[in-house]
Amino acid sequence: MTQTEFLKIVMPFKDKVFRLAKRLLISTEEAEDATQEVLLKLWNNKTKIAEYKNVEAFSMTMTKNFCFDKLKSKQAQNLKIVHSNYEAKETGLQKQVELNDSVNWVAKIIEELPEQQRMIIQLRDIEEYDYDEISKMLNMNNTAVRVNLSRARKTIREKLTNTHNYGIK
C-alpha cells in the first residue's frame, strides 16, 4: 500500500480521531500527539488494513483505548493534564459564534462529564455516528449507549439552564 492510498483511507476520519482524542485528553497538544500515534500505528500495520471490516470504527476504538492508556499513565504520575492553552486556541473558531460565552460554558460542562458520557456526546452529537457504530466503537451495548447519552444531554441542559437563569458560573 502506498502513502497516497493510505491517506485516502485515513483522511476522511483523521479529524474525528483528533476531536475524540481532544474530548478525552482536553489538551490540544496531547490530542495531536495521540492522533499522530494512532495514525502511525495504522500505517505500520497497513498490510492488515484490508482485513478490518470498518477502518474508521476500528481507529476510533484505537483512539479511545490509546487515550485511556494516556490518562491512566498520567494519573499514575500524579499529573493533571494542563489545558491553559484551551481558550487561546479556541477563540479563532468561536469568533463566528455570537453567544461566545455560553458556548464556553458548554465546553466546560462537557469537560466535567464522566469520560464515557463525554465520548458518547462526542461521537453522537458532534460526529453524528449512529447508535450501532457507537456501540461497536465503545464495545458497549446499544441501550447502555442510549442511557448514557440521555444522561449526558440532560446534565448539559440542566447546567445550562442554571447558568442561564441564575447567572451562576
Binding site: 502513502q3 493510505f6 491517506l7 483523521k14 479529524d15 480521531v17 483528533f18 476531536r19 481532544k22 495531536e32 492522533t35 499522530q36 495514525l39 502511525l40 500505517w43 505500520n44 473558531l93 468561536q94 463566528q96 459564534v97 453567544l99 455560553s102 458556548v103 460554558w105 458548554v106 465546553a107 462537557i110 452529537d125 458532534i126 460526529e127 453524528e128 449512529d130 449507549v145 442510549r146 442511557v147 447519552l149 440521555s150 444531554r153 440532560k154 448539559i156 441542559r157 445550562l160 439552564t161 442561564h164
Partner: protein
C-alpha cells in the same frame, strides 16, 4: 406548529430516542436566528456541537516507508558463492593430471632422458661436496696444537 414539533423532538432528544435525521432538524432549528425565547438555553449547546465539528487536525504525520531487509536474499547469495566455489575448485584439482604416454618405447626414452638429467645434476652436487676433504685435512693439521700444549705444560711444571 413548528415550535410544538421542536419541543417534542427536544424531549425525545433528551431521552436519547431521536434518529440522526431528527437531530439534524434540531440542529438546523437552533442554528437559525429565530429561536423561541424559552428554548434559548439549548442554543449554546447546539452551537457548540456545530463549532466542534469544524475543528481539524493540522499536524502532519511522518509516514516513513520502513525498508525491511529481506534475509532470504542472504541465503541465495550464500548458495551462489558456494556453487561458484565448487565449480572453480574442481578446475584447480584438474591441474595435477599431466597426461600419459601411449607408446612403451617412447615412455622408456622419456624416462631414461629424465633419469639421466637427474643423475647429471646429482653428480654435479656430489663433486662440490668433495671439497669437504680439504676441511678434514685442515683439522688434522690442527692436531699439532696438542704438541704446543704439551710443551707449555712441561715449562709451567718447572
Amino acid at each position: 406548529m413548528v415550535l410544538n414539533n421542536i419541543e417534542k423532538l427536544l424531549e425525545k432528544y433528551e431521552n436519547g430516542e431521536t434518529s440522526l435525521k431528527e437531530e439534524q432538524v434540531l440542529k438546523n432549528y437552533f442554528s437559525s436566528d429565530t429561536v423561541a425565547p424559552h428554548l434559548e438555553t439549548y442554543k449554546p449547546m447546539f452551537d457548540y456541537f456545530l463549532v466542534n465539528q469544524q475543528e481539524q487536525f493540522t499536524k502532519d504525520v511522518p509516514l516513513k516507508t520502513k525498508r525491511t531487509f529481506n534475509y532470504k536474499w542472504i541465503s541465495v547469495a550464500a548458495v551462489t558463492v558456494l556453487m561458484l566455489g565448487v565449480y572453480f575448485g574442481k578446475s584447480f584439482t584438474n591441474t595435477n593430471d599431466l597426461g600419459t604416454y601411449e607408446d612403451p618405447q617412447l615412455a622408456l626414452n622419456e624416462v631414461t632422458k629424465s633419469l639421466e638429467m637427474i643423475s647429471k645434476s646429482f653428480n654435479k652436487g656430489t663433486s662440490t661436496v668433495g671439497y669437504l676433504n680439504e676441511v678434514n685435512k685442515g683439522t688434522s693439521t690442527l692436531g699439532y696444537l696438542n704438541e704446543i700444549e704439551n710443551a707449555t705444560r712441561i715449562i709451567f711444571k718447572n
